[in-house]
Subunit: 404 residues, 2 copies
Amino acid sequence: MKIVVLKFGGTSVGSIGKIKKVADIINEHKKKNYKVIVVSSAMSGVTNELVKKSQEISENFSDEEYDALVSSGEQIACSLIAGSLVHKGLKARSWLAWQIPIFTKGLHKNSRIVKINKNKILHYLKEGGIPIITGFQGINNSHRVTTIGRGGSDATAILLAKFFKAERCIIYTDVEGVYTTDPNKLKKAKKIKTISYEEMLEMASLGAKVMQPVSIQDARLNRIDIEVKSSFVNKSGTLITKRSNIINNKIITGISSTHNDSKVTLIGVKDKPGVAASIFKPLSKNSINVDMVVQNISANGKETDLTFTIKKDDLFKTKKIIRENKNIEYRKLLFTKGVSKISIIGVGMVTTPGVTFRMFQALAKKKINIQVISTSEIKISVLIDKFDTKKALAVLHKEFRLDK
Amino acid sequence: MKIVVLKFGGTSVGSIGKIKKVADIINEHKKKNYKVIVVSSAMSGVTNELVKKSQEISENFSDEEYDALVSSGEQIACSLIAGSLVHKGLKARSWLAWQIPIFTKGLHKNSRIVKINKNKILHYLKEGGIPIITGFQGINNSHRVTTIGRGGSDATAILLAKFFKAERCIIYTDVEGVYTTDPNKLKKAKKIKTISYEEMLEMASLGAKVMQPVSIQDARLNRIDIEVKSSFVNKSGTLITKRSNIINNKIITGISSTHNDSKVTLIGVKDKPGVAASIFKPLSKNSINVDMVVQNISANGKETDLTFTIKKDDLFKTKKIIRENKNIEYRKLLFTKGVSKISIIGVGMVTTPGVTFRMFQALAKKKINIQVISTSEIKISVLIDKFDTKKALAVLHKEFRLDK
């Protein structure tokens, strides 16, 4: 069986008109003799509206009931899509997670899919039916409705692709694919034709909001080809696949940028074992995500300076924790509210010397000061003043020939 | 176990504020040491909104998907009520029909409940939990979501009361109870304290929109006391119970009226067997509901005049069917667009002679012409000009001392 999984995001099913368009897209795939499995998110806005209702009842609304509540969003979208296909004369039906079932483990609001019962869906596919499956949800051992915290409907789609050995998983969304950099920040940004899982992971976690990292990781582990494309225009999107499938003629695949970061520096920290832990443990306990960390070698062998970045929203809390924690010894606390992390990403850099130099030189030419540097095998990140973001994206995009 | 079933209609859960009020009401019953089972409809407006969406997709939207779609409405209401109770520190949870399960038979959109699995709910009640159960829905043998056509959430509540041997079923709605007549048409209308199933059935089918006849019939067959009351004001409502529970000092319990009726008369119909069938068969086939039927004895033994009433909306279709059907022989077709049926209802009339006379005399005094008469054991209905409706209600209400 040649199976394809199609996943539609909230904006793709955001109105009845768009749902009819989605039915057309599904029909196109069916005509190509694919067995089609569809996964849908809730119509855009519906989930937020339901969440708002729950918050009006309680700021601390029951997690179990939250799941029962918001899961209705996908139920609505899926029955409308199925009804739209039936109207076109196709054999289709909605499958609510409990009807399959899709089993999850873990806490409510934050479960993960552990098992998908294949029998019924397989039987339905063999009959020529198109199953429209509710994304983002499952049931637990007590047969209560759960929602999956991370990855949402993308995760449902990718796990379905895995269990049903689908040829491809197509993620339909409101953008045409993955871009070399954020088109809102740089007009010259180009759509990427193919990108490796590893590059996409870096792009995703660094600000490209097309897909959640956890879903890309799932796809990578299960070697599932993902195509990200728009449900609004009929153009090819971006294929996310394994490295060996990519014929790469560019060193750098994309450039990502973050905003809303803040930089914190502790001057004169005692240079002895356990110091870093004493700082980061309380932050972690308070769910503050520390991103880049740089520690300079101390000149006198006794003291050192420690710099790290956090989300700007966490700055106040972070300062409070550091100041109130008597275990953290330092002389001075500095912070910069608005910094931006610019990262160039590409599997090509492993085999190409001089990438770091080219990056730094390009930024220097534009008088952009680099505050912190961090590198991995396939990416180089630098911290700069947030007001330099657009300028930095432009010069790096040109330097690495992504404009072409 | 002292069990009470509380059912909340759409307007009773029409906003978050009202849902919080509902949680208070449930809590009051819990405090009285009742085991409380709650059934809820969808928040008012939600079902209509979903139906509108389905119609935008197709005028002939799939019945199966319609059920999956609209059943989300009760799911939303129940999880919000449950969350509201949990917020108050009570043990409560939503139970979706499939989780119990509530089994149905029959066509989609028009199923009927055939079995309610008691185990899980009973166990939950014993644990001290308050189950909040989705009304109006169930699952069929194929484990697809169904909705019950007639009676809706009232039917769910009454069947739960039956299966769990509840002491009482309280139907919370937006009116304070059942009135002697429509308060919108007659200001002097009084709330009825107790009414028999039989009287309520007549009241319901004749225009009092408080409860669906099929649910009252279910309650009657299972001898379940129903209280209809408002969720907005803390006042006692109307108790619907068996005749023997009622100490009645009034001959007439209530007066109902219909509007939007039309009267059709066929003059000179051949007086031979099968004539009535030849007229009513095609009407029935076209889903036209014929209400009152009167046939005069023919003077010459060859011809007769036949009069019947239908909904005004069906008048055009009815005329067309009669004119186009060659099997129907008659000399002349007459019709009156706007007639009203006034019915006096009361179990007391069985043992009280002269009720008919008092009714006719009262109407005659006000110069209200009676066009057609029909009677049953506990009701007398007359057809009058629709412009006389209010006048007729007022005079009969006074005649039978319902003003007191």
